[in-house]
């Protein structure tokens, strides 16, 4: 028995997985509601409960994400990019391009056979192309975020957005509503502008045979479909896109431990 935990404390969601060697025993996902510290504690507690384990049974804890530095218990921290890459390699070994659509950032990672990072593009100057706009738009249109995809795929005439700024896209969406444009066309239009932005990021690392999408954005069927259309190939999606980073964090921590001892 070698129990390890992986935590990915993102800007909006906290994710934890408990693994026994190479097997995922349980996981937990919760919003962090402004406190990284509390979220990190609670999400680990819940995951441990689901696995029927206690904290002292854990051999090692790996962490990643914006909020990882606020964790007080002993842990081994790795970057988001490295953990995503490792985690996706574990879940979908054939994949060489990982698109991670998070709340604030979108990353495109080129992954080696061994799950290492070969290349990476991140939107680090402006949030255009990140998943935040999906949250914003679901509020504006009063559509559940999980239903955005269902609306989007029925659109025949996606609106063209003149801005890629997430904050202004909200205003533009409001104007379109006032003009009487259908919800599905607005949502599909947003998906389209995100997909074009993401595709231009993919091109900087050059596309590969097998591509996958993960992160919260992967749960949006409309975005996935639109990206597939623009890229011209199918995207693999993990069963639970939220936890790929946490899995990577757990695996990487364990690997490092082996090196250290």
């Amino acid at each position: 028995m070698f129990y390890k935990a992986g935590l990915d404390i993102g800007s909006v969601m906290a994710k934890a997985v408990i693994m026994d060697n190479d097997k995922v025993l349980s996981y937990s996902i919760m919003p962090n509601r402004g406190s990284f510290y509390n979220a990190a504690n609670n999400v680990l507690k819940e995951a441990l409960e689901k696995a029927g384990l206690t904290y002292d049974k854990l051999n090692i804890i790996g962490t990643t994400g914006l909020g990882a530095s606020f964790i007080t218990y002993p842990h081994i921290k790795n970057t988001e990019v490295a953990c995503q890459s490792r985690g996706m390699n574990y879940l979908l070994p054939s994949v060489r391009i990982v698109i991670e659509v998070g709340d604030q950032s979108t990353r495109v990672i080129k992954v080696t056979e061994k799950g290492r990072v070969a290349d990476c593009v991140i939107n680090d100057r402006c949030a255009a192309g990140s998943g935040r706009i999906l949250l914003i738009i679901s509020k504006v249109l009063r559509v559940n975020i999980n239903d955005l995809g269902n609306f989007s795929i029925t659109s025949t005439n996606p609106v063209r957005f003149s801005t890629s700024c997430s904050v202004f896209a909200e205003t533009e969406a409001i104007s379109r509503i006032a003009e009487g444009i259908k919800k599905e066309d607005i949502i599909a239009g947003l998906h389209q502008s995100m997909a074009i932005k993401i595709y231009s990021m993919i091109q900087k690392v050059k596309i590969e045979e097998k591509c996958a999408i993960t992160g919260g954005g992967a749960k949006d069927l409309g975005l996935v479909k639109m990206l597939q259309k623009i890229i011209g190939k199918d995207l693999l999606v993990p069963d639970e896109p939220f936890i790929s980073g946490a899995i990577g964090a757990a695996l990487m921590a364990a690997e490092k431990e082996v090196v250290f001892t």
Partner: protein, 282 residues
Amino acid sequence: MIFAGIDIGSTITKVVIKQEEEIRAIIIQPTGAEHRRLAHEVIKKALNNADVTFDQIDFIVATGYGRINVPFADAQVSEITCHMRGVSWLFPNVRTVIDIGGQDCKGIKVVNGKIRNFIMNDKCAAGTGRFLEVISETLGLKLEDIGEISLRSNDPAGISKTCTIFAEQEILLRLSEGVSIEDILAGLHKALAGRIYSMVGKIKIEKDVVITGGGAKNIGLCKYLEKRIGFSMLTPPEPLITGALGASIIAQEMVTKAGEEKLAHIKKERKLEAVTFFDEAD
């Protein structure tokens, strides 16, 4: 004669009713999604406050981003010209106008009461009032309080990002690190002032500088901006209405220029009735 200027901004709608050199009524209220219905509503309120009837108004000029959605306006004029005219009326020596609106930020260079040059950011929310709105929301504070709170800081936090969404993220990080709210706010205001300064700087900032728009009401932003510029700025008594005021002045000028007999040609056949293109049933 009585004139009206109506400025439908992205966030706030303003109306000024002016008779000769006297301002008879001012209305300021939030812009919703539906401009036409709103235009009708605010003009009615303004008429009421000014105690005049719709037919007594000689000319109406609409401006702002929703200017085409004012069905009863006699003319539309861009907000850049209107702001400049409104500010020049209040401050005849103005050379530079910095307008920080809800969705854009403008710098206007004025020479002899005319626009020499202007610059505008409406591409991204960085450097606009929207930035302040989002951060006050994130921090759970009132928009009108954050400027003052920021001035209590002696050690502004380092905020490196001007993208609104990323700044939000940086706020969360700094908060979690235990940085005080005033230091965070000071850092944010400093970053915003820096962004505005570098944009408006392209048209060469010269005295007198007048700051208008919602941003002018934020004392923190004004202080940090003045620090960057190196001298103090002037603020109108009500910084929100310069666009609408300018529109009413232009209305007056258009009528004077046209003269009595030609007035009928430039005046539109207008009726005050609620027009809407929005499906009322949601």
